[in-house]
Amino acid sequence: MSDYVVSVVSNMGMIAFIALSAYILLVIGEISFGQQAYFGIGAYISGVLTAMWGWPLWLAMVLGCAVAGSAALIIGSLTLRLSGIYFAIATLSFAEMIRLGLLSVHVQVEIDGELVGPEGAEGFGDIRWIFENDVTPFEFMTVIYVLLVGVLTILFWVERSRLGTVIRMVGSDPLLAQAQGIDVVFYRLLATVFAGIIAGLGGSLYAHFATYIEPNVFNVMLGVHSLAYGLIGGLGTAVGPLIGVGLDIGFLEGVRVFQGYRMIAFGGLVAVLLIFMPRGILDEERVHRIKRWLERS
């Protein structure tokens, strides 16, 4: 597998985490433009822990996810009474606060004669875990996909469980869910925190694969894209956002057919799909038909 292919496939895997994160929020009935903040928090926290403090990667990733989840809990609690466009704007504002905050973080230590650590807009280089441990990009890509399969397994499990039905009840009609004894606030928070953790995991992987991160990587366009992946691929199953990622990064960027015009093609695709398939390619109705077809055969 060429380096280019490994790079594109790895990117797809890492972006799939934030796409799944935005998808969870969409299923719970909210549009978040701020999942990139949790992705960034995961990246910075885990990057600091491995590059500056020499922590093992798995532990750094666990803490990166924990901090991202905690941030999601705080933001989720503050935005509980918001919905629709107000929730979307609140999440966007929070994400921009994090990004602008990271621009002013200058914490560097000297390691082997070199300054290592976040340096504001200059970024955070020397996240050298992958080199120090002789891990090849292909091996790291394998780690990405093993974790992605793990997250997907959890999501599929939840989707098939009563919890999955509860989440869809809350997303479909919170008032009705509440009238049926569902504590909507609790389940919204639960989904928000889980979404934050998944985005944090993706960010942790991204920092160690890219070895260099800067605040502007986690800008609003990353959030918009992650949201669009779910809307393209469909909200009927967790496979949906993966289709969105595959179409954008795998096809439009990876194949280079639309080189230079990728964003025009991507924007057009989103617009067309929102008109003709407002809940994406694999929406609930198509997933229902596929399930029935599988049951019959």
Partner: protein, 251 residues
């Protein structure tokens, strides 16, 4: 069973409920009627916790439930339908009914994630039984949004039956139905919903109220103007003037 004590509710400058007091005995079936905007749905919303009361108390089974969240009130054994149909349109008919169990006190987060084979099986059987009761067993795998209105209303009833609540509020269960469909709905309510539980039925179709209810409360502009048996209430002058006037004149 249910005691409403001087319930008041305002929306801005408009007082939609002005000191409503009603006592409902266990097993009773009470009709709640009145012109549009008289406060019927507002009263249901207050009792079921969707709106907070500005004054007054709601006592259910000897417990003050005023100010509780609607999910807590639902968990105490109170269920409702909605004037404007509320269903989960992208779920199947069976899923809609089965979902009604998820908010019951028997389910904690662990059980919701990992399931409880016995409880799940019991609830699934209850859901299928409820669909049979309302005549929707053959539609169980259809998406709810593909059903016509009368069947959607029946689906709401199936949801109630599956949950088996002690107290039920039916908010215009025959809304938008033809005369024949209304009669079928009245029969369904009388045969399947009201026996063994306390019910409050909001409806504009007096044939349904007369068929189902033993007692009728009449609201007008947020005030309780009558609380009598059906044959009495429909002949009270204040009710005729406020609500039934045109019908009597035409007759």
């Amino acid at each position: 069973m249910l005691s409403l004590e001087a319930i008041c509710k305002r929306f801005g400058d408009v007082e939609v409920l002005s000191g409503i007091s009603i006592e409902i005995e266990k097993g009773d079936t009470v009709g709640l009627v009145g012109p549009n905007g008289s406060g019927k749905t507002a009263l249901i919303n207050v009792v079921t916790g969707m709106h907070g009361a500005d004054a007054g108390r709601v006592v259910y089974g000897g417990r003050d439930i005023t100010g509780l969240g609607s999910h807590q009130i639902s968990r105490s054994g109170i269920a409702r339908t909605f004037q404007n149909l509320r269903l989960f349109p992208r779920m199947t008919v069976l899923e809609n009914v089965d979902a009604a169990h998820n908010g019951l006190p028997g389910y904690n987060l662990y059980q919701l994630i990992f399931g409880d084979r016995e409880v799940d099986k019991n609830h699934r059987q209850k859901s299928e039984w409820a669909l049979e009761q309302v005549g929707l067993a053959n539609e169980r795998d259809r998406l709810a949004k593909t059903l016509p209105l009368p069947q959607l209303r029946r689906l709401e009833i199936a949801r109630i039956l599956a949950r088996d609540p002690k107290l039920v509020f039916l908010d215009e269960p025959a809304g938008g139905m033809t005369q024949a469909e209304t009669e079928a709905m009245a029969m369904l309510i009388a045969d399947r919903v009201t026996p063994g539980r306390t019910s409050i039925v909001v409806e504009h179709k007096m044939s349904l109220i007369a068929r189902v209810c033993r007692r009728v409360c009449v609201l007008n502009a947020g005030i309780l103007i009558a609380d009598e048996k059906p044959d009495v209430v429909f002949n009270l002058p204040q009710v005729i003037e406020a609500y039934l006037g045109r019908r009597i004149v035409n007759a």
